[in-house]
């Protein structure tokens, strides 16, 4: 009973749906990672924001109001009939925190993809997840010939909590992307052991 209203009482058994965010700077390989491990090509969904971006149901002049379309790529991995994992790439534009909040809600955790040539690009993602208290790991995507720094150097440069795992990966390779996700899940489980709520409601 992993859903709040799963008492359908008929033919369909609902799987448990979970999500992990894949964050990082523009062009760092988020969609590549999603695609390498998902069961289908990455899907794309969009959110349309007015420039105000806030919930004003004002339809007058909709046609002329400046709007911004924020695209998110995501993938799906099914495990049998009862478990589905969704991987959501976060939009690269850091100003769309509204969308990040929406994506982060109910997420298990996040992978921050980093490129050592542009390490600063992943600072906003790290700041965001630290602020949200969402567990994350850092995966350094090794582009050809780009490995200039050791993991310790990366860790130091990012000023990470020593508990946050930092690893190398190749987002194009399925096995490597799987290892990244498994590392994140181990990290999340470890954190749960420390902060587990004493009792859960309704289960």
């Amino acid at each position: 009973m992993d859903y709040e209203n799963s008492d359908r009482g008929d033919r369909t058994i609902l799987p448990t749906a979970l999500k992990i965010l894949i964050a990082g700077g523009f062009g760092v390989g988020k969609t590549t990672l999603v695609g390498s491990v998902s069961e289908t090509q990455p899907l794309r969904t969009e959110e349309v924001l007015s420039e105000q971006g806030i919930g004003v149901d004002d339809i007058s002049g909709v046609e002329t109001k400046a709007t911004t379309t924020v695209a998110m790529d995501f993938g799906r991995i099914s495990f049998g009939d009862d478990l589905v994992l969704y991987l959501f790439g976060t939009p690269g534009q850091d100003r769309f925190w509204f969308i990040w909040d929406e994506l982060a809600l109910g997420a298990l955790g996040a992978v921050v993809l980093a490129d050592t040539r542009r390490l600063a690009d992943c600072f906003p993602s790290i700041d965001y997840f630290e602020g949200q208290g969402l567990p994350f790991i850092v995966a350094v995507n090794c582009f050809d010939g780009s490995r200039q720094y050791s993991l310790d150097e990366v860790k130091m440069a990012l000023n990470l909590d020593p508990e946050v795992p930092v690893m190398l990966c190749d987002a194009r390779k399925r096995e490597s992307s799987k290892e990244v996700l498994i590392s994140l899940l181990h990290h999340v489980m470890k954190g749960r052991g420390l902060t587990r709520e004493p009792e859960s409601v309704g289960s």
Partner: protein, 125 residues
């Protein structure tokens, strides 16, 4: 997957993302719900040949969601913005044509069994 009606899909990429969704939802820009992107949508019955009051996109959602599908997947397959799909889901929920299952917050998972199942499943991929 065939559409239940003969109307051709008259929007394409050039039509832009804004005008059509607003028209389809009769001007409603904001949904009443805040369904999670991984909320699972399941239709309660098949599409009928004539469903009075439904726009083709409503019928398309019912058709897609004969098996549970996440909100984000519905939006992706319909090529509509998330909030437009949420507005359409408001209509369908009101008419009890779909059921929405919101995901359980990970913090309330009773034990690590889901994590262990995910790790095992990923290793087996």
């Amino acid at each position: 997957m065939t559409r239940p009606d003969a109307e051709p899909l008259w929007v394409d990429d050039e039509a832009g993302p804004v005008v059509r969704p607003y028209a389809m939802t009769r001007g409603r820009a904001r949904p009443r719900n805040g369904f999670n992107v991984i909320s699972l949508v399941t239709a309660t019955r098949p599409v009928l040949p004539i469903d009075v009051g439904l726009v083709p996109e409503h019928a398309r959602i019912i058709e897609l969601c004969q098996q549970p599908l996440a909100l984000a997947e519905v939006a992706a397959y319909l090529r509509l913005p998330l909030n437009t799909v949420r507005v359409l889901l408001d209509d369908l929920v009101a008419r009890q044509l779909v059921q929405i299952a919101e995901p359980r917050p990970p913090a309330t998972l009773p034990d690590d069994s889901v994590f262990e199942a995910l790790i095992h499943g990923l290793r087996e991929l």
